[in-house]
Symmetry: C2
Subunit: 381 residues, 2 copies
């Protein structure tokens, strides 16, 4: 099994970040979230599930990242390419790493500025009270990161694409086995549990995300937890998974017809596939996220400008969703190496919908499907 | 199956918060994280896995919470007890809910102050740039929440304890089946995958956390991801899970000896159980978190004051870890309804350790074990 990355991967990420930092006059980046810390270090653990401990990485203007972390993580961080690992025993009620982090930043940045991810999709994973204490000692030095981290993360290396493709393959094998677990009369909550078991059986490391729905000719909602109502003939079952393999996500769904599909549902599904095709046809370097939105929206709403779900796809990679959004406002040009989802939805009746999703990677020419491209006909169970 | 809570549960939580808000002179609370939003509303979805959308709840000085959320969540929020649901189509690059949230806060709080969770274990789940924009329009009104939310969440209702107990029972049944999946020669990564499958099979909704380790007479680390080395005779395998049932976690572990245990490992395990017993013996109302720490530390280190792992237990509930820490600094008095883990660790040789963990609830008299209390002898596989 191919786990982790060679050191050259992290070196390249770091050098690219530092080139942008120089351009934006930043003396350091301060990173606090799981994905940002892992992107520059390779530090992979499920321990972030606990909110108790904070984890910091300081990326200097040159050289390797510096880890400022609780001592419980020192052994694992020492297995990465990072050499400079500074620790304290956390949690500490007197100083939970703030002093150590402040000293490290001041040492690294001198009179320069410190970039902190501050834009859409970012957050600061540390208590506000500690943030106030930290910035009090770094007066005027804190600024945003000029989107450096999100810009870098949006374009994947071949090694990263390989990991996302592997996650997609695991999900594809799991979806192929759905007829084993979903039949008329089975509760959707049971299907949800069993689908996660299939995903693990097929090689997922873990299954952070599973959503879906079921209903006659479409479902009402795609973010609710599964309920205990049994599947019935004439319903459409949708399962949408973000499973993880070696720290990278897939994110696509499949629709299944319980018994023969109603003509309306069958037609809606075929139009969703048409919409995906229309977006894939133009998903070349230079096209924008908005272009893909409009290509799909023209088919699913006749060009009405979308719906309350807000977008028809997004980037993915180290997180279930990251980077660009397929919305009219997003004029980000596509670049080879971007991995995105095409996720059109269509209203089938008042308050009911179908959603279909595929994962593609932008190349120099036609996009490559990482999920196995579905045909117009729903799988019937 | 017993899902969710009656409305009275949320009403009681809200009233308790509002009583404390009055005491601390707060006109509103602003909540941004999954657990805090769910605590007051019942809004349960795995959709938080996506970092794209922000979700806000404003708790006024009286009346029900107000949801300020992306329109994609409106249908699910409408199923909760919340009546006032304000939405925008997210993500929006011009105003991603900041204007709507600012208007709502100003409407609710008037000239009063707004409490935001700011202490240990908290973070603000919104972009810093949007936070700056929001607070710019609320000049001087933002303050911390006086630990109101964490204080309330630390003491569980009977209904909450029932859900944690159910999660513990599912984990207990899963641990009992470990001999089905773990034998000498099987890769630990396979055991990790299979254990998650067992947990789902036994009724987990999902498995957000699984950690562990294996090694001769002890393991080096409890936060690393599973590797592909096969289990060998003489090794101790530890699995530590935080699985979720209806939004509530268990968090305990079990150690298994692959073949007969070495005398050192057997002795270390027995001492861990002694340490748990010592803590359980004094875990009554009025004892402090620090008291429990010292009771265990006296046995596992001879009173050296702990190790780099930093604590010997913690609260749990809606999150894998939450609330108090069993460390010398934590003088929080125990209160009936607190659910905590007892998690002593012991060094078995240079760089190797054993860790044992149980879950208990504090009552008026002796604590109740929610995990099935392990005996001194490790299960042998």
């Amino acid at each position: 099994m191919n786990r982790g990355f060679p050191e050259a991967e992290f070196e390249a990420r770091t050098k690219r970040a530092q080139a942008l930092m120089a351009k934006h006059n930043l003396g350091a980046l301060l990173l606090t979230t799981e994905a940002d810390v892992r992107y520059f270090t390779g530090f992979l653990t499920r321990f972030w599930e606990s909110p108790t401990r904070v984890w910091f990485v300081v990326l200097p203007a040159s050289g390797k990242p510096i880890a400022v972390i609780p001592s419980i993580g020192a052994a694992l961080m020492a297995q990465t390419w990072v050499d400079d690992i500074r620790t304290w025993r956390a949690p500490s009620y007197t100083d939970d790493g703030v002093g150590l982090l402040g000293d490290t930043l001041n040492e690294v940045v001198g009179a320069g500025r410190i970039g902190v991810p501050s834009g859409l999709e970012s957050h600061l994973r540390m208590p506000l009270a500690d943030w106030a204490r930290l910035t009090g000692g770094l007066l005027g030095k804190i600024t945003d990161d000029a989107q450096i981290v999100s810009t870098l993360r949006a374009v994947k290396s071949d090694a990263e694409i390989g990991k996302i493709a592997e996650a997609c393959n695991i999900a594809a094998r799991s979806f192929a086995r759905v007829p084993e677990i979903a039949q008329s009369g089975v509760a959707i909550s049971q299907v949800f549990r069993d689908f996660q078991r299939l995903a693990l059986d097929e090689g997922a490391d873990w299954v952070p995300y599973l959503a879906g729905g079921a209903g006659p000719g479409g479902y009402a909602d795609v973010i609710s937890p599964a309920h205990d109502a049994p599947l019935c003939a004439g319903e459409v079952l949708m399962l949408d998974t973000g499973l993880v393999r070696d720290g990278y996500f897939c994110d696509f769904d499949r629709n299944f017809s319980i018994g023969p599909a109603t003509p309306d549902a069958a037609d809606a599904h075929a139009r969703l596939i048409d919409a995906v095709d229309a977006a894939a046809d133009i998903a070349r370097p230079g096209a924008t996220a908005a272009d893909l939105f409009h290509a799909m929206d023209g088919i699913v709403t006749g060009g009405a400008g979308g719906s309350d779900t807000g977008r028809l796809g997004h980037g993915l990679g180290m997180q279930l969703t990251e980077g660009l959004s397929l919305i009219p406002q997003d004029t980000t040009p596509l670049v080879p190496g971007m991995v995105i989802t095409l996720e059109p939805g269509i209203e089938t009746s008042e308050g009911r919908m179908l959603v279909h999703e595929e994962n593609i990677v932008i190349t120099d020419s036609v996009p490559r499907f990482l999920s196995p491209r579905a045909g117009p006909d729903m799988v019937q169970i």
